[in-house]
Symmetry: C2
Subunit: 214 residues, 2 copies
């Protein structure tokens, strides 16, 4: 089929991001949730990520790509991100589920819009939040009301999540120069657009932090 170059890469990295988010959220739910209700709630977020993975995997099949092959180049970087951002407790798990995932998904959305408007709609659909994050926001806010001193620790944690995401992003860019080149070219003709992109990502991240009270 007639595909914009880079589309298979983008859908592949997204598909593996969703598959690994599903598995890691389930692991966090099993290991860190303080109550059965919390375990079920984080489990539900995990299941939603799996649904996204299925949509992306099907889309890859429809455009004639092998989903496993499309995901393979990104397994190492995404697994490394998860290994380096393994939550030590329940609050860290919630912040990771909301803030860490949030900034990654914002980036994927921007990238899709630049690469190929035809897949931007699918990506938007796949990445819709559906109010699932309310759960994490409420729990973190309540914890910080009970213990305001935890805010500094969680702010550091959020910074680490974003820092590790940036460093894995650079690794992907180095390993997939074609994908990186396409993304850069898509914005490079307009230097101001790069600034606006970063401003949008930073603003959305700040809103998520504020929503949690961090």
């Amino acid at each position: 089929m007639n595909q914009s170059p880079g589309v298979v890469d983008l859908l592949g990295v997204l598909a593996y991001a969703e598959l690994s988010a599903f598995l890691r959220l389930a692991e966090d739910a099993a290991l860190l949730a303080p109550t059965l209700g919390d375990r079920a709630a984080l489990g539900e977020l995990a299941v939603a990520e799996y649904g996204h993975f299925k949509l992306l995997s099907r889309k890859l099949g429809e455009i004639g790509a092998d989903p496993d092959a499309a995901m393979a180049p990104f397994v190492e970087s995404l697994d490394a991100w998860h290994a380096q951002t393994r939550p030590a407790d329940w609050l860290q798990a919630l912040v990771k589920a909301y803030v860490g995932t949030g900034i990654a998904l914002d980036f994927y959305r921007e990238a899709a819009r630049r690469l190929d408007p035809a897949i931007a709609a699918l990506v938007d659909e796949v990445l819709v939040d559906e109010g699932r994050s309310e759960f994490a926001v409420e729990r973190v806010r309540a914890a910080l009301e009970a213990d305001p001193t935890a805010a500094g620790r969680l702010a550091l944690w959020a910074r680490r999540l974003v820092g590790e995401a940036l460093s894995q992003g650079q690794r992907v860019a180095a390993e997939r120069p074609e994908l990186a080149r396409l993304l850069v070219e898509a914005v490079a003709e307009d230097q101001a657009e790069i600034s606006r992109l970063f401003a949008r990502l930073t603003e959305a991240h700040g809103k998520r932090m504020a929503a949690m009270g961090i």
Copy 2:
């Protein structure tokens, strides 16, 4: 609402069995799956278990029970079963997903039929396999064709899964004497029925073992 006694207990143990199966299968998928396709396939089994958990949790709510409170008495025993049957490799994970879960679900089905025919239909619906186990059967058969010597090791593993399930079952019976009494009374009037129950469970287990080639 007018509930047969023991129904909340039975739905509670089943709900937690499904929730913990979901989380453990996801963990096995993350840690042990040799390929991305395998990871996604075991992930899909995990997500199906979560769907069952949701149905049971909703049913508990409908009959006026608190799902968390209904599950709580069974958390320790089921977590202990999972801790003692943590698969060491991918084949052990598949055998656990198919054989270990299979015998537990057969038992729940029999128990539901005895306790209250009204919930037997729901339990049957929740526990329907939907051909999901084909995946595990195919993979184990293929592995044993490539290496027939693994069969003995996997047969021992299956025996351990069942042995640990029996010992946790005895623990639950000791901790929930009311539930145990109801189940025993439901069959005690007919000694032959107890034999038939065990014969059915054993036969179904043997069929699963044979299907896998163990």
